[in-house]
């Protein structure tokens, strides 16, 4: 079975990534672009580009009806949503099914179950997989206070409909809880249209470790080992690596097995990522959430396993069984990814849109650049600030880091500010090199030294 024409419902580097994967598979591509992206590189590389609306994502990339109309009108037989935008909107999946379009991603139910963080916690708990100690839904500030005192402070207040680092608040003092609860509920209502809040114990010295999985329609689920995404600022990942430097063989087996069991339990289809919080003091992991899409940082997994995850997504969505069994999936070497954003690290990471006067990306053995940018490209203020994912692969961690330092030094981007200087700062830090970091390290330690 195969697909013949894929509609790409995204923009930027991931649109280009999908277009190229389709091209290699002999599948035609149609790209939906906003008015601001008509001349973008993915628009030029797609077999056809259609303008779906104005620059504001609400009226273009986020409009389910328009995406479906454009896919049907261009005779596509499938939609790839990429990440962000509509990637985790069950409404798009339902609409695809209604109009006989394949959705390159999981079933709507998978998205719904995992999108509800409370439901996901409960489901994973029944499998005997540890979840972060926490509460059921808390309905009032007083309930929140009670729950927090039982768990022990500090705690995190999370939106049930949140995820991806959105809708999280840290509370250190019980007296703040009622106020923060009202804030959190209000923000959750505004952002997600759902004000349900729950509480989790805050794990101070934690790493973020996630497992890439993939399932097919025949019921097979495999994993592609873990990624370590502990270097974050405001819950946004900045630098990722695979494998995690703190995993032992035993722990790796346990965490990967947990991820596969969760996916298998819901008959998960297509690419997904199960995220865990790893408590470094106790050396235990807890389920955090599952992301039901291809993720930004998927290339590091590709670099150590040699599997093209996007091509596999397309194949599986066409109904084909996975091309590989678990035993065929091995990893070798070490990969590091830097997310190069159009932001000014010296100005509190303020967005820095504008025209790129000069763009020279590094190249060479073990260097991969996923980007839609070029000299003369105008970085639009309408969308996220990701310019490029710079990935290096080395024989071991130090080799990958050494390559990354060299690659960053020879990545020339002028006309706008980028996060490159900050990535260089990280990669020359002794604590980072020794692996002595956690999810709070950038904000609590490194940014202070950097002079923020």
């Amino acid at each position: 079975m195969g697909l013949s024409r894929v509609f790409v419902a995204n923009r930027g580097e991931i649109a280009l990534r999908i277009i190229r994967a389709c091209h290699e598979l002999g599948i035609e591509t149609v790209l939906g672009v906003s008015d601001a992206d008509r001349e973008s590189r993915p628009a030029r590389e797609a077999d056809r580009a259609l303008c779906i609306g104005p620059p504001q994502a609400m009226d273009s990339y986020l409009k389910v009806e328009t995406i479906i109309a454009a896919a049907l009108g261009s005779n596509a037989d499938a939609i790839h949503p990429g990440y962000g935008f509509l990637a985790e909107q069950p409404e798009l999946v339902d609409a695809c099914a209604e109009h006989d379009l394949s959705f390159i991603g999981p079933k709507a139910d998978h998205i719904r179950t995992m999108g509800d963080k409370l439901l996901a916690r409960e489901m994973v708990g029944t499998l005997g997989i540890p979840v972060i100690p926490g509460s059921e839904m808390v309905a009032t500030g007083n309930e929140a206070k009670e729950a927090a005192q039982k768990l022990g402070l500090p705690v995190l207040l999370k939106a049930a409909a949140g995820g991806g680092g959105k809708g999280i608040k840290t509370v250190n003092c019980a007296d703040d809880l009622t106020d923060v609860f009202d804030e959190a509920a209000g923000e959750a209502r505004a952002a997600f249209g759902d004000d349900r809040i729950f509480i989790e114990r805050y794990i101070p010295n934690a790493r973020h470790i996630e497992v890439q999985i993939m399932g097919d329609r025949q019921g097979t689920v495999v994993h592609f080992f873990e990624r370590d995404c502990s270097l974050q600022r405001r819950y946004q990942k900045m630098l990722e690596e695979a494998p995690s430097p703190v995993m032992t063989e035993g722990l790796r087996e346990e965490i990967c097995d947990a991820a596969v069991r969760i996916a298998r339990h819901i008959d998960y289809e297509n690419a997904g990522t199960v995220e865990f919080v790893f408590d470094q003091r106790e050396r235990r992991f807890y389920f955090l959430e599952m992301n039901t899409r291809i993720q930004v940082e998927h290339p590091i997994t590709e670099m150590i396993t040699g599997v093209d995850l996007v091509k596999e997504q397309i194949s599986v969505a066409a109904g084909n069984p996975l091309a590989m069994a678990q035993g065929d999936i091995t990893m070798s070497g070490h990969a590091v990814e830097c997310r190069i954003n159009a932001e000014s690290p010296r100005r509190a990471f303020h967005p820095s849109p504008g025209r790129i006067d000069r763009w020279e990306a590094p190249a060479g053995e073990g260097i991969r650049v996923d980007s839609h940018c070029y000299t003369g490209y105008v970085v639009s203020p309408y969308y996220d600030s990701l310019l490029a994912k710079l990935v290096t692969r080395g024989t071991d961690r130090l080799d990958a880091i050494t390559k990354m330092r060299h690659a960053l030094e020879h990545f020339i981007i002028s006309g706008i500010d980028t996060t490159i200087p900050f990535h260089q700062y990280i990669l020359h830090n002794r604590e980072y090199l020794e692996g002595d970091i956690n999810t709070r390290w950038i904000e609590d330690t490194l940014l202070r030294e950097y002079g923020q």
Partner: protein
């Protein structure tokens, strides 16, 4: 807010033509006018619809051998050739219908006089029918999309000639 009329644009073009300057950048309210003498391209841009960004976007580097590929910008570029004619463009992507229902006479035809409030076509998006108003006064010179065809956002649907200024009452409501 005072709108720039087509006559104003022509007047400005004439002034720059006779001046020693190569470029003019003018902003009045939500209208934006960029004139480049050497580039031979002049554009009036509605600042609310199109960001300043796209004005600065370099011209497409699509080479002639790419012409077998269709691109989102093609329809917009094509409209620029018909100087003097005012385009009515699609406010959304969807299916273009010239008549209110199959078999019914079309809303407008070539040669017909229209006023800005007239419905000229319907764009259907997933069973939702959106009527499109002319937005200009004039006479339909050309119909640029065929019935039942999918049109893109801002694709030119009609070209209107002699599109004059809106009368006072219309301008106030616009």
């Amino acid at each position: 807010m005072e709108a720039i009329t087509q006559d104003d644009v022509f007047l400005i073009l004439k002034l720059i033509e006779e001046s020693k300057y190569d470029e003019l950048h003018l902003e009045i309210g939500d209208l934006k006018l960029d004139v480049k003498k050497q580039g031979t391209r002049a554009s009036v841009v509605d600042a609310q619809g199109v960001p300043e960004m796209s004005v600065e976007t370099p011209p497409p580097t699509v080479s002639p051998e790419d012409s077998t590929h269709r691109h989102a910008s093609d329809n917009v570029e094509a409209a620029a050739d018909d100087s003097g004619l005012i385009p009515i463009t699609a406010s959304m992507l969807g299916t273009f219908y010239r008549a209110p229902k199959p078999g019914a006479p079309p809303f407008v035809d070539v040669g017909q006089d229209i006023t800005d409030d007239d419905t000229v076509c319907i764009i259907e998006v997933m069973k939702l029918f959106n009527t499109v108003k002319a937005g200009v006064n004039g006479r339909v010179a050309r119909i640029c999309a065929s019935d039942g065809e999918m049109v893109e956002y801002q694709q030119t649907l009609f070209l209107v000639e002699g599109a004059g200024d809106l009368d006072e009452t219309k301008r106030k409501s616009a």
